[in-house]
Each structure stands twice: as structure tokens, then as C-alpha cells.
């Protein structure tokens, strides 16, 4: 039991990291293809970001600057926990600022600020298979990908339109990568889908429980599935962020009281703070200095 307290840099042993890096390289070589990898048990539960954590651990170097977000925010409990984990086992510099980070691990959001060359966005993925809810069997879905047999997905989207007048998928909206593989963007709102297209940053997706890694190399063609007469659209919000006044960003609804009072604020906390620091103010916002007091 004496060796219990010592762990390798970034927790995983080097053999495991090498195995994961190989999977990542293969994933980059075949954009959108799900590469099986020998996912390890991590010291946090499956379903809580073990895939993303393993990818981050495999690519993290001592000079990296890490940002971790969940729902767009740096201060949600699981983001705090994962960030603390890497501070503990890798002692790397961490940040909440999108532009300062070299690696950003995320759950459910893509930062509002445009990512740039050299940055890596690591997604935590619960169910990597976009066809899973149409076909529960892995043996079948693998065949469907191999044959580019995506008719079932189009039928599903068509049925949405027939029933509701529009496509009723709001998050984890399927995309087609480089005209070949249909890919699950992880449960990000479809609002974020266009950000994946031709991104300058490398995007890596890790699913620990399902043991899959996939990737979008920089400048990859990513198209959200749609129909000519029902083109893909993203959510739009009627009002700007109540704190920083930003428009064209994704907002969280905050319930203020039990009388129906609501306010809408940026889901990306760093973006919101940055704007307020620059002096932008929403109709319910207070200057940043005051709020800190």
C-alpha cells in the first residue's frame, strides 16, 4: 500500500497515454470516425467526463494552460472538480480565460470566443454514437457507418418535420463530417454546431464509458444535417444577456422568483465577465467591480 500516493504526471501511466494518443492520431486521420480505445477506469465516475479527462491527460504537457468548463461555465461543480484534479496530478497552469488556454475541456458548450490555431478543445461525450437511439446495437450501427447508410437518420429528421413542422432536435444535433461520417457533436446545443465548421482549433471527443475517441482536425468541413426546404437553423434569443448585453450568444434562463420572473444570461461565464470588464452592461447588469464586492 506504500505506493498508493504516487501517480504519474497527469495520472495515467505512459503506456496508457501512448495507447490513447494512437487512438487520437487515428481519429484525426479519419475525421468523424469513432475509434475504439481501451478506456481506463478513472478516479471519477463514468458519465462524468472520464473520456474527456483521459484525452486531456494524454495530450497535456507541463507547459499547457488548461481551462475546464461545464455548461459554458468555469465554476460549475464538475468543472471545478476536473480542474482541481489536473492541478493535483499534473500541476499545470489553469485559467478561466478562453484565449489564454491551450487546452479547453468542455461539457455541453463551445466557448463563444472564436478558438484559434494551436488550441485544442476536448469534449466530454456520453453517447458517441449518433445512431444509438435509432439502433441500440453496436454491431448494427458499425455496419451502418461502414456503408454510409444514414437513411434512418434522415427518416427521423423527416418524421420530426412531418409531426412538428420542424426538426425537434435541439442539442446533440447530428453533423456530417467531410461528407463522410455522421457524427454526434456531444450534447452541445445545436446553437454551437456552426462553430465546429472550419474551426482553427483541433477538436477531440472522448467517451470513456463507451470507449470511443473521435476528432475534427482544424479546418474540417462540418455540416449539420438538414433538408433543402428545411434548412438548419440555430436557436435565437429575443433579448440580449441581462448582465453584459451580448447578442447572438447562448443564454441560460435564470429563475428569479416563483412568480414567473426570469432573466437570461450568458452561458459562457468567461465571455460574459470579459465583456463586463470591457464596460458592456446589460439591463440588469452591474459593473464588474461592484458585483465582486
Amino acid at each position: 500500500m506504500s505506493g498508493l500516493a504516487t501517480y504519474n504526471f497527469a495520472y495515467l501511466d505512459e503506456q496508457t497515454k501512448r495507447m490513447i494518443r494512437r487512438a487520437i492520431l487515428k481519429a484525426i486521420a479519419i475525421p468523424g470516425y469513432q475509434v475504439p480505445f481501451a478506456s481506463r477506469e478513472m478516479p471519477m465516475p463514468y458519465g462524468w467526463g472520464t473520456g474527456g479527462v483521459q484525452v486531456t491527460a494524454a495530450i497535456l504537457g507541463p507547459s499547457d494552460v488548461l481551462k475546464v468548463i461545464d455548461q459554458g461555465a468555469d465554476d460549475t461543480t464538475n468543472a471545478v472538480s476536473i480542474r482541481a484534479f489536473f492541478q493535483k496530478v499534473a500541476n499545470v497552469e489553469v485559467t478561466t480565460r478562453t484565449k489564454e488556454a491551450t487546452i479547453i475541456q468542455t461539457r455541453h458548450r463551445i466557448p463563444e470566443e472564436k478558438l484559434t490555431e494551436g488550441q485544442v478543445l476536448v469534449y466530454q461525450v456520453p453517447i458517441p454514437e449518433p445512431l444509438r437511439f435509432l439502433e441500440p446495437r453496436e454491431t448494427e450501427t458499425r455496419k451502418m457507418h461502414a456503408l454510409s447508410e444514414y437513411g434512418l437518420m434522415h427518416v427521423k429528421l423527416y418524421e420530426d418535420i412531418a409531426r412538428n413542422g420542424h426538426i425537434a432536435t435541439t442539442y446533440a444535433y447530428p453533423v456530417k463530417v467531410e461528407g463522410r461520417y455522421v457524427m454526434d457533436p456531444s450534447p452541445t446545443p445545436k446553437f454551437d454546431n456552426p462553430k465546429m465548421h472550419m474551426s482553427e482549433a483541433l477538436q477531440l471527443f472522448g467517451a470513456g464509458r463507451e470507449k470511443r475517441i473521435y476528432a475534427l482536425p482544424p479546418f474540417t468541413d462540418v455540416v449539420s444535417l438538414d433538408f433543402d426546404d428545411h434548412p438548419f437553423t440555430v436557436q435565437s434569443f429575443e433579448k440580449p444577456c441581462a448582465l453584459c448585453g451580448a447578442e447572438g450568444v447562448y443564454l441560460d434562463e435564470v429563475v428569479l422568483d416563483d412568480r414567473g420572473g426570469r432573466m437570461f444570461v450568458c452561458s459562457d461565464t468567461d465571455y460574459c465577465e470579459d465583456r463586463r470588464a470591457q464596460g458592456f452592461l446589460g439591463d440588469q447588469g452591474v459593473p464588474l467591480k461592484e458585483a465582486a464586492e
Partner: protein, 369 residues
Amino acid sequence: MYVAVKGGEAAIANAHRLLADRRRGDRAIRAIGIDQIESQLSLAVDRVMAEASLYDPSLAALAIKQSRGDMIEAIFLLRAYRTTLPRFGYSEPVDTGAMRIERRVSATYKDLPGGQLLGPTFDYTHRLLDPALQTDEAVETPLTRTPSPENTSRVTDILNGEGLIEPDSSMEDEHEPGDITRTPLDFPMTRDTRLQALARGDEGFLLALAYSTQRGYARTHPFAGEIRIGMVEVEMDLPELGFSVPLGEVRLTECQSVNQFKGSATQPPQFTRGYGLVFGQSERKAMAMSLVDRALRAEEFGEDIVAPAQDEEFVIAHSDNVQATGFVEHLKLPHYVDFQAELDLVRRMRAEQGLAPANTQSEQKEAAE
């Protein structure tokens, strides 16, 4: 005025501090020792070792203490430790025929060479709460007999002598044992990796599946050919030495179920087998495993696949309780970004159907304020 909730870090630290407090409980009561757990809650220790796939009683006991007795949490703790250990290779197959038997029962023969040996079993105890256990009353030393120096042959070997049962199955000579902790699952699986997955599978899940086969969801009609519990030696072949050396002993529970089989075009009528092998003393798990193993061999015997217990992808993909608990419990993580997207959609769809949103007016009023 709304200010974004900060302080996740402090909240987590405080929650963990409270957890440590609750784990310790009343300070006036002496803390439970790892040695006490290891020797007095040994079946809990066995289950944790089995489903964590790590044979280390004292670490399993530590995990049970740390998890406040939550078994799946303890299994998780031990697995997360196991995964950091280097893997040197694999042992020689253990010879359960050479087991130092503590318990051995067969339901198929009244008596057999080596005899029936009840051992430390709950069977035939009357489940009456024992007030004597509230205090530390002296317990009689058990009666033991000198073990027979000869191996106790396995019931399947006896049946096999007549050719009535399929022989021990084997993999090709070149086949290297799979390792489900080092290679992602690939369906359909080979039987070695499938048995590995079942051996670490959740006891409750396998029990329920085994039970379902008995109640008609896939008819397997098993007999408990033999259940044996005892110590076996683990040996490893060291290439440098050219022979295998013993690494130590482990306690195992083995169950061989004997099932009917009418025969097929390629196989004669004979009994078939289901196999269960589990760390420690865990009869329920070993029996359930053997029933599920047999049910999962349906395709091999050309049987119709009609029930969940026969469906390899269904059974194996959902048998791991650490995976299952993580994913079920991840629902308590924030999902408000996705929920927001769904809220928006439901509101829009209701508006399209002409349903006046109940609180739009107040919302607009608030916004106007």
C-alpha cells in the same frame, strides 16, 4: 440582484468534509478497523474483490470503510486503484480440480468421490435474528478434519468419463487470453472475454438475469452440477526460468451448471455446461454467472434467441455496475444548457399550436420593468 453563483470549490471541499464526518459517525464509538472488516465482513470484502477484479482483501476492506459500506462505491474505489497498476502478464490457468476444498456440493449425485462438504454456509440456518451477536460472546472453534491428500475430482470430469457432457471447452493453442480491462469490448465476444465480463459483472444484475432464465425467459433447465469453494494456487510462467512459479493462493468459488441439450446436426445429444468462477466465497454470484453463461451460449448451440439473458450485447454492455452507476448518476450533473434548448422548443411548439403561454405576460412585464 442575480450574481452568478460562485464558490463551487468551497462547496465541494465542505461537502467532502461533511462526508468524512458522517463516515466517522459518533466519535464516542470506536472507529471500525480495517482488520475487523477484513475478518468479520469477509463476504463483503469478497464481493468487492470480485467485482473490482483485484484480489487484495485489505485494500478491499479499506475501500468498504472509505465508502461507508456502499458496495458499488467500494468496488469503484478498488477498480480506480487497480487501473493504475502495471500488468506483467497472465497466470497459468488455475486448477480448480486441485482446490483445497472448504465447501463442495453437487445436486446431481447423492454421493460422489470426495463427498459432499457443506462448509461455512448459510444454507439450512434458520433466519432468526441472533441476539447473542449483540455482544461479543465466545464462539466455539470449528470442527475440522484432516484434508484428504488426493484431489477432489470435479463432477464434470465424472460425467465426462461417460461422454455424457461436453468436455472442458478450450481456445486454440495460439489464443492469447483477452483482457477486457486493456482492450475495448468488441461484439460478438469470445467466450474468454465474455466470462471475464461476467466475473466482474454486478451480482444483482446477473442474479436477476439468471432468475429470468429459470422463469421461462430462455429455457436453460440447469442442474447445479457442482459448487466448490476453496483455495487454489496461482502460478505464473516466467520465461527467464523456463518453469512456472507459485505467486500465492486465492479463494475461489466455482459453479458448473449442467444443462440439457438435445443435440444438433454437428453435436451428439449430451449435457452442456454453464460456468461461473468468482473471487472469494460468492456462491450466489457464481451460480448466477453459470446460468447466464449458458444462456449466452445459445448461438453456439443453434438455439433460438428469444430472451434478454441470451442477448450478449444486452447482457455484457449493461453488467458493469461501475459504468452503470456512473451513467445513471451523471443525470444529477447540470444539464441546463440542453434543458434550455428543450424549453425553447416546447415553448415554440406550444405557441405554434396557439396555446397561450401561461407566464409569458408576467415574463414580458418583468422584462419591461
